[in-house]
């Protein structure tokens, strides 16, 4: 098995818990108490809540929303938010989260400016390496099945990733 392949699969109760948590992060405002009914109402829009796939869909949608809403600097998206590493709890859903993120009209522009920052500003190699998980994600997406596959990287800087031709 490839070392970057997810080895942990979340069970339904855990997925539900994560959905609720990310939803709370998105909706808390000045410590206001969140109404459970509001959460239930929103969850209904994702489909039949008896199925795990419904919750996974919500999870990925909310994670993508958190990525957008909490992104003050584009580069942070690459060096932290989407620096998917196997030990992260959301690793198994990385492609689905990224797919949801790409639904936002500004998504590609954010990635573009993030890449400009990490390659052209005063980023050193150590800081740039923090985006390795993001580059691996793109590497996995190269090919006919996925729409986006960047080859913008410096040769030899990312271990375990083949360099662009």
């Amino acid at each position: 098995m490839d070392s970057t392949t997810a080895s942990i699969t979340m069970k339904l109760p855990e997925v539900k818990e994560k959905v609720r948590y990310i939803w709370e992060l998105l909706n808390q405002w000045n410590g206001v108490v969140l109404l459970p009914e509001k959460f239930d109402q929103e969850m209904k829009t994702f489909g039949d809540r008896r199925y795990k796939k419904t919750w996974v869909k919500a999870l990925c949608k909310f994670k993508a929303m958190l990525a957008i809403e909490g992104c003050l600097d584009s580069w942070m998206l690459l060096t932290s938010t989407f620096d998917f590493r196997p030990e992260r709890w959301d690793y198994e859903y990385r492609h689905q989260i990224f797919d949801e993120f790409l639904m936002y009209p500004e998504a590609v522009e954010i990635i573009k400016t993030g890449l400009e920052d990490i390659f052209h500003k005063d980023f050193d190699i150590q800081q740039r390496e923090k985006a390795d998980g993001f580059f691996r994600l793109l590497e996995e997406r190269e090919g006919p099945n996925r729409a986006i596959g960047f080859t913008t990287r410096f040769a030899g800087e990312i271990s375990g990733v083949r360099t662009a031709a």
Partner: protein, 126 residues
């Protein structure tokens, strides 16, 4: 003859928004915060300092989305002040923030940033 004059002094660079933000996120990480926590504290400080979300702030001020250096100087300064003070506070608390789960830890870090942001907001003219 050159002797000590060849020794290099401390390597320092001009502090900017990115430098301050890196130290802030480092302090979040040092207290056990994860990637979700980074996003959350940014949302929290933006809510407290400006009364809106990050996307709204860029839209309302005509900044280029997700490019902090295109925000009005007042907004950039407010973030720098708040992230500097929040980082000091989180560094002071290092090793004291615990919890039964990642969620607990993230919430405690977020509470520290929220409290600091409320204090910072009082000093801002808007």
């Amino acid at each position: 003859m050159l002797g000590k004059s060849q020794e290099l002094g401390p390597q320092r660079k001009r502090v900017d928004g990115a430098t301050v933000f890196r130290r802030f996120t480092d302090s979040v990480k040092a207290n056990g915060g994860d990637e979700d926590c980074y996003s959350k504290v940014v949302i929290t400080e933006t809510n407290e300092l400006f009364g809106c979300g990050v996307r709204e702030l860029y839209k309302a001020t005509g900044g280029k989305p997700n490019r902090r250096d295109t925000l009005p100087h007042e907004a950039q300064q407010a973030y720098m002040v708040n992230e500097t003070l929040s980082a000091y506070e989180l560094e002071r608390m290092e090793g004291t923030i615990g919890g039964e789960s990642q969620k607990d830890v993230n919430e405690k870090i977020d509470a520290v940033v929220r409290e600091q942001s409320k204090q910072t907001r009082k000093w801002l003219p808007w």
